[in-house]
């Protein structure tokens, strides 16, 4: 173990949180490295001081529940009951629809965002492998195959079909609509820069539930060397101007639930950073991640 690796885990050792194997390896290094040993001692002492410096809390001037109840019972309308329609869910839905729009745009070139928002392009469904489970469309149902939707051209269908990845080649977890337990969602340092999803990736799935449960805003990514990096989904309001400029309709998801789920190659997932204190706002920061069948993840929408 060298100093760089040792310092990554010194704090855990100082807090007694390191597993025995790594602790033993670290101790081996510390015997040879007085600088790291001194730093470990510094961390231990600082931790002790921080703990001792903790001040007791003052009592609130009024009982919390009394004040909260007054607010909840005030005739303010929306505070009087738990929200019937989970906003996070709704926002995830709207962004999922936006992802569909983007996927459609990247893939077929001629889909407009509005089309994508409403429903999966018919072409995507028509070429789904027969042996795959039927597409689950739980969320925004197409507004009844509206007559305004232009038909998908033969060229579009062709370009899609050539590049399609059979669902059967994917691990089961990728074919299901369940959210994988962990997903790196931003290229790590040293990896190639983000790029648009390759043409032809048209079948994808969304998690059955919002990626980020309330309170969970990001995921870590641990590389082969064991280095953990973190990524953030940051809550941010999106202005009307921004929505218009991006050609996305984000304000009102058509229905509840995840937008859609298809078996096929690659996945697009949506993550919404919860911002319970910003319930008034109709849209917030979101990250869409495209994961290709080979497992590489790229952020395709992040704002």
């Amino acid at each position: 173990m060298n100093c760089r690796r040792a310092r990554h885990i010194l704090m855990q050792e100082a807090a007694g949180a390191l597993d025995e194997k790594r602790s033993r390896a670290l101790r081996g290094h510390l015997e040879r490295c007085p600088a790291c040993a001194a730093e470990l001692e510094d961390l231990r002492e600082a931790g002790r001081i921080f703990r001792r410096a903790r001040a007791p809390l003052a009592d609130p001037s009024s009982p919390v529940w009394e004040s909260v109840r007054e607010q909840l019972q005030a005739p303010a309308g929306r505070k009087n009951a738990p929200a019937r329609r989970p906003l996070l869910w709704g926002v995830a839905t709207s962004f999922a629809a936006a992802a569909l729009a983007i996927a459609g745009y990247f893939t077929l070139g001629t889909f407009t965002p509005q089309e994508g928002l409403d429903s999966p392009p018919a072409a995507l469904r028509s070429v789904a492998p027969q042996e795959a489970p039927p597409p689950q469309v739980r969320g925004p149902q197409p507004p009844a195959q509206s007559a305004e939707r232009p038909p998908v051209t033969a060229a579009e269908k062709s370009s899609f079909a050539q590049a399609k990845v059979p669902a059967a080649s994917l691990p089961a977890a990728r074919r299901s609509s369940a959210m994988p337990p962990y997903r790196p969602h931003r290229p790590m340092a040293g990896r190639p820069a983000p790029e648009a999803p390759p043409a032809g990736v048209v079948a994808w799935s969304l998690p059955a539930a919002p990626v980020a449960e309330a309170g969970r805003g990001g995921y870590g990514d641990t590389d082969a060397a064991g280095t953990t990096r973190d990524f953030h989904l940051r809550p941010r309001a999106v202005s009307d101007h921004e929505k218009r400029s991006k050609g996305l309709l984000l304000a009102e998801p058509p229905t509840e639930g995840p937008a859609a789920a298809w078996a096929g190659g690659g996945e697009i997932s949506a993550g919404v950073a919860p911002a319970p204190d910003e319930l008034e706002e109709s849209a917030r920061a979101l990250e869409m991640v495209y994961t290709s069948p080979d497992g590489r993840a790229r952020t395709i929408l992040d704002y």
Binding site: I9, L43, V64, W65, Q71, P82, G218, G220, D277
Partner: protein
């Protein structure tokens, strides 16, 4: 412990109360508030200097929790979910206060660090904190970013495990350890400075580590 035992795990009791509250039972939600108000206050008041603002945020956290209760699916503990709301609300309020030029968090006369490191009217501590150490803690906390300071509050003052802090703050566990490492080094650096640089060798170099 048997699930059927009278003394249930706090998580189970929370889950039962959440279930009732989701159907609109305000009393059950009130019980949840009472069960968790102390920890929410801990997070908020240790970060926000003004007690009025802090109380306001505490109430806001519970109101938000009530409004968002349908979103809570029970995958995580209710306390973790609630604390996440508290962390977000607190950081947001601090940003607003800073943006609007309200009380500066860096102002030692009114800042959070003063409260964090206060002797609280002579309350007994497990071990006495020297004036020098208190000053160092105060200065270290003043110089930390909001996220670092929040991490210190959650870990050392509120004693949450790192895994839970990572969930609350939306980062990896590795980042939590890294922030704690940085905060501890900052504190040691402040102590060295206050002691007249007696630990000088390598001291400057430590500041560069993020």
């Amino acid at each position: 412990m048997s699930p059927s035992a009278g003394l249930r795990q706090p998580e189970e009791a929370d889950a039962a109360l959440v279930h009732k509250a989701r159907s609109g039972d305000l009393n059950s939600f009130g019980e949840l508030v009472r069960r968790h108000e102390r920890t929410v206050q801990g997070i908020v008041t240790r970060m926000i200097p003004s007690s009025d603002d802090a109380e306001d945020v505490v109430q806001e956290v519970f109101v938000s929790a009530w409004q968002g209760l349908q979103r809570f699916r029970g995958d995580a503990r209710f306390s973790t979910w609630l604390h996440t709301i508290a962390v977000n609300a607190t950081l947001k309020r601090i940003r607003q206060m800073r943006r609007h030029g309200q009380v500066s968090l860096d102002d030692p006369e009114s800042g959070t660090a003063e409260r964090l490191a206060a002797d609280a009217a002579g309350q007994p501590f497990e071990q006495a904190v020297s004036a020098e150490e208190k000053a160092a803690v105060r200065r270290a906390l003043q110089n930390l970013s909001d996220n670092h300071r929040m991490t210190v509050v959650l870990y050392y003052f509120e004693e949450h495990p790192c895994e839970e802090i990572a969930r609350m703050m939306g980062c990896s566990v590795g980042t939590v350890w890294s922030r704690l490492h940085y905060a501890c080094k900052k504190l040691k650096q402040e102590l060295r400075d206050l002691r007249g640089g007696d630990g000088a060798p390598g001291a400057r170099g430590e500041r560069s580590d993020a």
